[in-house]
Amino acid sequence: MRKKILVFFATFFFLFYIKNSVYGQQHQCNERCDPGSCVAGLKCIGGRCRNERCTTQRDCGCEPYRIQGRKFIWQANTWQEIEPAISQNVTIQREDDQYNASSIENPYFFQGPPPTPGVAGSFRYRVSVTNPPGTSVAYTICYNNWQCYATITPTPGNSVTTNTNDADSRNYVDGDHYVSIRWYFTPLIANCSDLRVRVNNQLGQTTILKGDQVTLLANFSSGNGTLNKIGLAIVPNNCSDPWLYDYQVDSSTGGEYQSGQFIFDQAGTYKVFCRAWSQEGAECRGSCVNNPPQYKCAGSDGSGAGTYTEITVENPDPWYKLKNASLNKIGDHKISVVQNVKKFSDNDPDDTLERYVIINNAGVLLAANSYNPGPYYNPINVSNINQYQGNYGFFNKSFLSAYYQYITSRKLVREISNITQITVDGLFLMKTNSLTLNVNPPNYNFVLLIRKLDNSDYGDLTIDLNNFGNTGKSYAFIAKNIIINSGTQTINGIFISTNNFSYQNLEGLKINGNLISLNQVPLNNRSDNSRPSLFINFNPRIYLDLLPFLSISKYDWQQVQ
């Protein structure tokens, strides 16, 4: 009996033990357990049955977590949330393939099906991103602390799988759980820098003249990508097609390259930039960056310095040219002349292609005010010996105003009423307020003074005949205002204006002889300002032919007793 009682109690206590011990039972969530004793879906962790995807949760239910992040691209020496990075597609794929989603937003959020503040927390998700052509991609992943990216180095790759336990508990304090994944795209570009514009062997100018010869220079090197080809380009200011100039050369070594010569034939503002292609298929441009694989060049400072500039091309001003003369320039000598000048007319026997203000046997240029020979990179010299002086001040022309009184008291002056009355060489006076000459003058060497009817001043003279005075004789005309009509492009003689001289031909005026005006002569724009607008071919023979008339005598008088 005692044995039976003992067996009974032993069995009772064994069964009681078995019932209450970790062995031999299927433990529920958070129950003490031995390995393998938890119910399905739980795992004995730390002596308790827990959900292995979120081991800190006592109810074994994983809380949802949000998958979020941002997309960056390395530009201008910094990570920027700009295209093409921000529109890259981020996808999530749940490990059981029962849920996926995608986003091209930036920042992006994957909340999961509402109302949960995140995707199902018990699942891992493969998060992937597309990357723009010609870039590499890396990521940082942070759990419940979006700022951790600052302390970690991005890991190369375009996909990462979330960790549910980290989402559940890493850095978690309270609130929603989340995983922050930042994507970093790096263009695999080669680099260019130190872009320079050389105009007529001078560097650094950004405002040039139409017709100037331009050469581009830049330095090229490998960068995040391996250099494969270099380029230099000139494009319209709005980057539109067609490009004006597109220089490309294969190169893997880099260094300094210069383009061929380019001549602007139209005024305007243009973009100039360098380009570099990498073996990885990316292209960097200093400007006019379109879609990937085009990216902005890093330049010398990482932000594109020295990879881009603008050039303003201006139309040259009309200009004057002289041959065998000296010039007293009233006012300023301010002149901008293209590098490749053309003759006054292509078949002009007197002009040359020399780029000087005064060609052939040149004299001195004196400017009453400033002397400005044009752009510093390409000033136009006065002549091959370049003798000049600026700010000379007032030119003493006292004799011109006194000439009429002088000749009427000292010389034989014949008064006529019509130019046809000139039948000998000499000095003639015609009283008329305005004289128009539309036929060639008589075949005599003469000086003609046009005086007003009341003789109070010089009268005006209008020339309305092309090649006026082309008779082989020598003429000089003295008038107040001298107007050369629009149909006249060449005149012969010495033209002396005591007030204004003007010409109306839009293709310029050539004077075989000389021009003396007491005031500045306005220059007309030509259709091609690489040709001089006013061309004076000084002819000394006229002075010799008119020496008795267009002259004075000097006297030296002494009483010796």
Binding site: S326, Q389, Y392, L515, L544, K554
Partner: protein, 256 residues
């Protein structure tokens, strides 16, 4: 006694009268002498003025006619007046003072018909041939040579040590080979020949310009020596130089 007293009184009156008459006579004589002297001086001045006028007149005549005399014309009929046109040449020539921007035309050729009837439309041989020293003071010069083929050459010359014109030639300092010692700069134009004219423009200041050739310069104008003598012996002499036609720089240098 009474008669003797009366006689004494008559004698005194006579003496006083004589003394008064003597005084008056002295005054009259002195005045008359003074008047004669003044008349003589006035006459001399008048003759001098007339002699000067005669010298001027014969100078004017000589300008037109060449060497000449003046006689039998109105109030100068008793005057001896003559003018000689000097046509001798020299190696030296000095211009008048040229103001800033003025120019002087130096003839290095000979007008046809010179010296008596020069035709300045026909400049030709004989030409000056040799070295030509151009002397000046504190101004720059522009030299323009018009050659026999009507081509031109220009030279710009700065005073020594000065830059009035950029990139111009520099003169030598001093008056070496100058017409006189009043110049402080000189510039040599070597081997000048077959040149009609040399126009010298003064830039940036005023200066006389002196020329010295290694051979005689060509004639530069008329030099007239005139002399007129009055019947009373008053003599006046005048020297006049009239240059050949000068082309003013106002009409020569392109200006606009």
């Amino acid at each position: 006694m009474t008669g003797s007293k009366f006689n004494n009184q008559k004698g005194q009156v006579l003496l006083i009268t004589v003394m008064i008459l003597a005084t008056i006579l002295s005054i009259v004589i002195a005045t008359s002498f003074s008047s004669m002297t003044e008349t003589q001086l006035t006459k001399l001045e008048e003759e001098e003025r007339k002699a000067f006028a005669a010298a001027e007149a014969v100078t004017e005549k000589a300008l037109k006619e060449g060497s000449t005399t003046l006689s039998g014309i109105g109030e100068f009929s008793n005057y001896q007046a003559s003018a000689t046109v000097d046509t001798t040449t020299s190696r030296n020539f000095i211009t008048p003072l040229l103001q800033k921007d003025e120019q002087y035309t130096l003839y290095l050729s000979t007008p046809q018909g010179a010296p008596d009837n020069p035709n300045f439309q026909q400049l030709g041989s004989p030409y000056f041939s040799g070295n030509l020293y151009i002397c000046f003071n504190n101004a720059a010069l522009e030299l323009t040579l018009i050659k026999s083929d009507n081509t031109v050459s220009h030279y710009a010359v700065n005073p020594s040590g000065s830059t009035i014109i950029q990139n111009a030639l520099s003169a030598n300092s001093g008056a070496t080979n100058c017409p006189d010692t009043s110049f402080n700069n000189n510039y040599l134009l070597s081997s000048v020949s077959n040149t009609k004219l040399l126009l010298v423009r003064v830039i940036g200041g005023s200066s006389k310009v002196g020329f010295h050739g290694t051979t005689d310069l060509r004639l530069q104008g008329k030099t007239i020596y005139s002399k007129a003598t009055s019947p009373g012996g008053a003599t006046k002499k005048i020297v006049l130089f009239q240059s050949y036609p000068q082309i003013p720089s106002d009409f020569f240098v392109t200006s606009f």
